[in-house]
């Protein structure tokens, strides 16, 4: 028994050290506001053979780093129902490429439901420009290489064909019908099959004729997506072969179809936060969390004495573990998410309070210290389990509610609170119990005063706590 306690204690210490290493800030000054004696540290990067452990900073949400969150509604009215999923992924690729050109670091572009796209742009200054860029309709055209007479360099020029009206027409996405993935019958290699409409077929026939054995470029938003070399005259149907992987072929098909049938989008939700407001929020939340935790520790120590000290130690382990989880999973921290975490610090000691109250009762009923500890934990367990599950149910439903329209605030809150509740069950039960048992086994803690058991301890302290609630 005692051996088991020691092993558990060792595991807890190792976990705590691992978590501390994981969450240690690169710039502690920023997170441990002035005055606190906290040593400098720059994080740890472990490398064992090929395995590396590189601990980056926390992932902070847009409301903390500053940036723009956009929810785009696509207009799929012109797209056949069966093509809508691929049209949406085409749209996401088109938006993604434009944002990359715009030079945003770590953008998020993801589908939301069947016809919406979430776009998150951290640190964008000129939001209106970014929106205008994203909102453009995709432009596909076919180009041929021409030697520039002045510079002598070859450049891509949109292929033009004289139409029946005598005017030059550019071969653009409007003449393109669709692309599909096909497979070579002998080698089984993936290839791209594409079709033009009637006008397009005539134009492409002329273009392939004059560019035989030369490359023709397929451009989307002025960027080449494929530059195959013409191997024969193509009119309404053609194929592109090459060393594609299946994914590359699929990807190219999605992009070509996105150019052929552009899907218009409009912004239906926009949330911008200035970076200064974001960093101010981070600093304030950290101060609030530190003060909140200090008050909880003070309360626990004064009210429960020795067990309170141990519970505070467990709360420290809890804070480290939860933060390590946020970093490793990783959880994108938002202002509401941090609030959820701070709230969970207050709730994390709930299980301890339940257990300690029960211990006091059992000791008052005449049990020995060791027996009272065991009884306290055993009897309080069903309450802790049932009550925490109800909070977890709420968190799960909140997460669903938030994810339904991409509300990162609501999701962040539900996620950190839920993770906090699960982690606190471990810290309040396993960690506190191990600490208590270690201490009892030393024989140092035998005084009932240390456990808050002077007579008549319970009624006066209960009355005091009622008064302090005002």
């Amino acid at each position: 028994m005692r051996r088991n306690v020691r092993i558990t204690f060792g595991v807890i210490v190792l976990l705590a050290i691992f978590s501390l290493v994981t969450v240690w800030p690169h710039n502690p000054d920023k997170y441990i506001p002035g005055g606190a004696a906290f040593p400098q540290g720059s994080g740890i990067h472990i490398k064992i053979g090929d395995w590396t452990f590189d601990r980056g900073p926390f992932k902070l949400g847009l409301d903390l780093v500053g940036g723009t969150h956009l929810l785009l509604q696509s207009d799929m009215s012109k797209v056949a129902a069966s093509d809508q999923p691929s049209a949406l992924s085409g749209l996401i690729q088109v938006i993604g490429r434009r944002i990359n050109q715009y030079g945003v670091s770590e953008p998020v572009i993801q589908a939301q439901g069947a016809d919406r796209v979430i776009v998150e742009l951290p640190g964008v200054k000129n939001v209106e420009q970014a929106i205008s860029l994203i909102g453009q309709t995709a432009q596909m055209d076919f180009r041929e290489q021409v030697v520039n007479k002045d510079t002598g360099a070859t450049e891509w020029v949109v292929a033009k064909v004289k139409g029946s009206d005598g005017q030059d027409h550019e071969l653009t996405g409007q003449y393109f019908k669709r692309a599909d993935v096909g497979f070579d019958q002998t080698t089984g290699a993936p290839k791209i099959l594409f079709q033009f409409n009637d006008d397009g077929a005539k134009m492409f026939q002329e273009i392939t004729t004059r560019n035989m054995y030369k490359p023709v470029g397929i451009f989307l938003d002025n960027q080449p997506i494929s530059t195959p070399t013409v191997q024969g005259v193509i009119s309404n149907q053609g194929e592109i072969t090459g060393r594609f992987t299946l994914d590359e072929a699929k990807n190219l098909v999605i992009q070509m179809n996105a150019g052929a049938l552009p899907v218009p989008v409009k912004v239906i939700e926009q949330r911008d936060v200035d970076a200064t407001l974001g960093s101010d929020s981070v600093a304030r939340s950290i101060i609030a969390g530190e003060i909140g935790m200090a008050i909880v520790v003070l309360f626990m120590v004064i009210y429960y004495r020795l067990p309170g000290v141990l519970a505070s130690g467990a709360l420290g382990v809890y804070t480290l573990l939860a933060m390590a989880e946020f970093k490793l999973i990783p959880v994108t921290l938002t202002l509401a998410g941090i609030a959820g975490f701070i709230l969970s610090i207050g709730m994390a000691v709930d299980a301890n309070i339940l257990i300690f109250e029960r211990m006091r009762e059992e000791m008052r009923a005449g049990k020995t210290l060791g027996a009272a500890i065991d009884a306290g934990f055993d009897r309080a367990w069903s309450s802790i389990r049932d009550s925490n599950i109800s909070t977890l149910i709420t968190c799960a439903i909140l997460f669903w509610f938030g994810s339904n329209y991409g509300a990162s605030l609501v999701m962040g809150f539900a996620l950190t609170l839920g993770l906090g509740v699960i982690t606190s069950m471990f810290s309040a039960i396993t960690v506190t119990r191990t600490f208590l048992r270690m201490l009892v086994s030393t024989g140092l803690a035998t005084s009932s005063w240390l456990f808050g058991l002077e007579k008549p301890a319970h009624p006066t302290s209960a009355a005091a706590s009622q008064e302090s609630r005002g």
Binding site: Q270, A339, E357, Y405, A462
Partner: protein, 330 residues
Amino acid sequence: MMLDIVGKRYYFFLLSLLILIPGVISLALPGGLRPGIDFASGSIMTVHFDKVVDQSELRSEFTPLGHPEVMVQRSGSEAGAESGSTFIVRTYPLKAEQKDESGKVTASSERQNVDDALKARFGNMQVLSFDSVSPLIASEIVRNAVIAVIAASAGILLYIAYAFRRVKKSFRWGTCAVIALVHDALVVLGVFSLLGRLFDVEVDAMFITAVMTIIGFSVHDTIVVFDRVRENYGRRVGDRLENIVNHSIMQTMARSLNTSLTVVLVLVALYLFGGVTIRTFVMALLIGIVTGTYSSIFVAASLLVVWENNELNAGWKRLFGGRTQAKVAS
């Protein structure tokens, strides 16, 4: 110290009603809750001027921009508010840039127009935050919020019925817990309805999040009391339910108050020192946590006694000339 909470249950029910009635009336009247842009759609921006700017001058600046409906509120203690002035500006959704088929701009972005006009009029300006929600998504958020609250209540009811399945009529326990959580949600909704009428406090998606957290916390507290009742039920066979429940409430009282206290302390720290943007959210949580603790001590388990003793039926008969004796179950 043994308080007879269950014995005085009807006084506590009366107290609950007194707190609930003004809020519920305010909720039921037209314009019960002031919907924020999440539910009503619109744009809301926090702007900071380096200069000191007059509120009415700022408001009048929006009429020529096509937004006479603008609401301007002075805001303090945001980042960089040491000098100059900060305002929260609420309008109908600001339209994005409009283009025709050929990609020519037919109407410039309203947001940009506002930016330009305010800068020209009041000098250097910084948009600290900008939120815009279209009517399309707003109506969806409302629907999802309603579904979420109903789903959470139903989920909790089912879970309690399951957790207490060994108790006779466990469904009643679940129902009492749900009545207590509806009580807590109504108190918070009522208070915010009144705050909306008095101080223009708006409710948004974060408020719904707060209400759902309160629901979870309220049940959390109630379960601890019920769990004790369940335990004592088995030990004190033959005792009157009132006594068992009251004893259980007293045994869990210190825990209920202490847990609530630690959470309240943390929330107060968050309210006073945390970011301004989540202050309303934290306030909703604070009100709800206190109410949740009250309801778990004074309402939930007492309701169970009322139900198990069939007191409503007895009271009904007493009032309308049925049998005068109320039978007390053991």
